[in-house]
Symmetry: C2
Subunit: 453 residues, 2 copies
């Protein structure tokens, strides 16, 4: 398996980035009934090569520029492998103390690395925990917000309101719906020309809801939206929210990784005033999925909302109050030893290595954006943000869409699109671990040729 993965990484550029199979191709390539007797491992590995590989979209390819990246670095893969091999459960401190305490340690380290508010450190009122994804972090935040609002107001869930924008990640609305908010309780805030929430609209919508005896409970501000890396005005939103005891959750799933560099720490302005914050090292910080870091300003808000301890889980360590039982900080009871992979990454690269990694991708995006600007057939739809370039062909939506589809069909790269102000734009995100300047140049060459055709 080690050889298979090493070969895969070495040859990754030989595969079409976007899988070219048709629906049903993979399923129907396998026997429709399970084997009666065990099979040889060699046969299984042959099938991985022959049947699974054609059905992969290669997220680790240097030519993957779609969505946001999802990293799998060497140290992280090994940390994950160790987690799989040890096979322990981290639901309670007592079920493997190292699982809990290493997680606390790396989350405290990250408070220092990314200069997060000091009260997110485990020794203070707050604390952090690894969630599988920003979706689940938003769900935990929404549930904690809901419980706090219900406890502080003599009301029921149907009177609560929540605030997002049309550019907030869809997982925030989904989380609110999962947490029992009806669609009619979820407000969509207006955005400005940069697709950032208008704080004045937030203020007005809150006032309107208060006037109707509703209870504003939750707002999600985004540092780096998915479509266009817009930055909601966190300081203003958090200030308004504080005045009305509204829980502010900040989703920095992608852009939060940039805060390991001092020059991007300004992105986190205002986070010191919010109730919860998350970002995903599994996107842009060299750590395998799943690794979302979720911090709360007051851990008691979270733990009170999510802790249940039946008799069969009672133990002296829990009752001593001296330990964290992270199952009470998340949805599921069970949990993997996820901190190992992040710990491996931080130790292998060091803080300086993390910074260099972020800077490299931003530099590549700067180079790509310069080529777009210099080309008469293309235009930037908005200024480059970090390592996202949103651009389009001057020939319009249909031409832009055709170019994107052709690029993806050829398999030499994979890009995705979004729609901004009704306009179809391509998103180009040089963020894969192996992406170098030569890949950007080759990608641009293909794009420029199609643009000129």
């Amino acid at each position: 398996m080690v050889d298979l993965l090493a070969d895969y990484m070495q040859n990754i550029e030989s595969y079409p980035v976007l899988s070219q199979v048709k629906p049903g191709d993979i399923y129907s390539s396998f026997p429709q009934h399970p084997p009666h007797a065990g099979e040889s491992f060699e046969d299984v590995l042959n099938d991985v090569h022959e049947k699974i590989f054609p059905g992969l979209t290669h997220w680790q390819s240097p030519n993957f520029y779609a969505y946001f990246p999802s990293h799998a670095s060497g140290p992280s893969i090994l940390g994950d492998f160790l987690s799989s091999g040890l096979g322990i459960q981290g639901m309670l401190w007592s079920t493997s103390p190292a699982c809990t305490e290493l997680e606390t340690l790396v989350l405290d380290w990250m408070v220092e690395i990314a200069e997060l508010p000091k009260h997110f450190h485990s020794s203070q009122t707050g604390g952090g925990v690894i969630q599988d994804s920003a979706s689940t972090a938003a769900l935990c935040a929404a549930v904690a917000a809901r419980e706090r609002a219900l406890a502080n107001n003599n009301t029921d869930i149907t009177k609560l309101t929540a605030y997002i924008s049309g550019h907030t990640h869809s997982s925030a609305e989904k989380s609110l719906r999962i947490a029992g908010f009806a669609s009619s309780q979820i407000r969509h805030l207006e955005v400005d020309d940069t697709f950032a929430i208008r704080a004045d609209d937030f203020s007005q919508q809150v006032a309107r809801d208060l006037a109707e005896n509703l209870v504003p409970a939750f707002v999600c501000a985004t540092i780096g939206t998915t479509s266009s890396l817009a930055f909601d005005p966190v300081p203003e939103i958090a200030e308004i929210a504080r005045q009305h005891s509204i829980w502010t959750h900040v989703d920095a799933a992608y852009a939060g990784s940039a805060a390991v560099c001092p020059e991007y720490q300004y992105l986190l302005d205002g986070v010191e005033k919010v109730d919860s914050y998350c970002f995903n090292p599994h996107k842009w910080l060299l750590t395998n999925f799943d690794c979302d870091l979720f911090y709360v300003a007051n851990k008691s808000d979270l733990v009170n909302a999510l802790t249940m301890t039946p008799e069969y889980l009672r133990n002296k360590a829990t009752e001593s109050g001296q330990v964290f039982d992270y199952s009470g900080w998340q949805v599921s009871l069970g949990r993997r030893f996820r901190s190992l992979k992040l710990w491996f990454v931080i130790r292998h690269y060091g803080v300086e290595g993390l910074k260099a990694h972020i800077r490299k991708h931003i530099e590549l995006a700067i180079e790509f954006a310069a080529r777009v600007e210099a080309d008469t057939n293309y235009e930037l739809y908005q200024p480059r943000a970090l390592n996202l370039v949103c651009f389009r062909h001057k020939g319009g939506d249909e031409k832009t869409r055709q170019i994107l589809e052709q690029l993806n069909a050829e398999g030499r790269m994979f890009l995705t699109h979004t729609i901004l102000n009704g306009v179809y734009v391509m998103r180009f995100v040089p963020g894969a671990i192996r992406t170098e300047m030569r890949h950007i140049e080759a990608a641009w060459e293909s794009i420029a040729q199609l643009g000129a055709a």
Copy 2:
């Protein structure tokens, strides 16, 4: 890393099963600040040995008899390693078709292996998906149930009611609370002498709620409770639920694995009438955490409740309606290639190997229970169920508790307890992959000695 894990597995019996560290020991053994520059991998591995290992509770030890097991077999570890190394995202079919289609395949295989209702097969009205845990499966079921009840009744969430028992896993109540049910909307059903839900009490509580114009929406029946492996009467519960359009979710997290053997398929009686069902190969079926198999009778119920498709995720395959996008079957958007590990397990062991594995553990429990019964100091608290033996010292609760604490402190084995009818009992679950008759004999020798002292 391969060597480290191979050595670990070979030497696993040399470690105290239950970690003997004190709160804070592990955290304080590490530098409180992250490294500026990268470190050597050798240093990191040394720390794994010296600092992490003492903080592990060894779930893969053959002397682990606590809770329920959490398996990590060789093929499964390798499948998980492959998933980590490929580093793909399975949120949509198009983001890696093989991730979706192999998952559908192994879930369809399992319908055949465990003789699940045929309508759980993907080609029928139902279908299956891998969730991280039974907790999350219960949450998805609760949300789907809630949405169905709200759609079918002109009401709001505060009028819905849900039904569990004091022996239902705590994750069911937690899931309901996360889904927005207040404590006052959750009914605890009475149990009989075997700790199974009394169907007549369910019927009466439903009638009472209907009389108060409430809307019964969800009931969770358990096949093998955590405390004592009690079996709720699924056929009766499902029949009552059907009459009132109540969603029946069946949690067979642990015991469901036994259904790979024809002689235990009777445990699933009534599952053909329920709305959703789950069991965890990551507990007792040789597959690493996280791997919960969650089936629904009507996939549209689930997908309607959990699907959101923003512009940046739109693609032709989704719009064709020919594919499953599993992010719409779960809470999170992101997802690992989790089917690989289960596929490796089924192919390596074959269906016959899976059966032999289950039968071995049940045989070990039979042997252990026979020793308890033959000993004048101990008694079975209830008849053995599958591979769970609940027993106690005849000297009473305090004596039993002392014995359990001493056994765990010595590190030669790890057992946990529960309280049944106010009585403290030890739970002994021979379910680790490496547990053989010699371990049972050694464990019993220690237990018998302490009992005679």
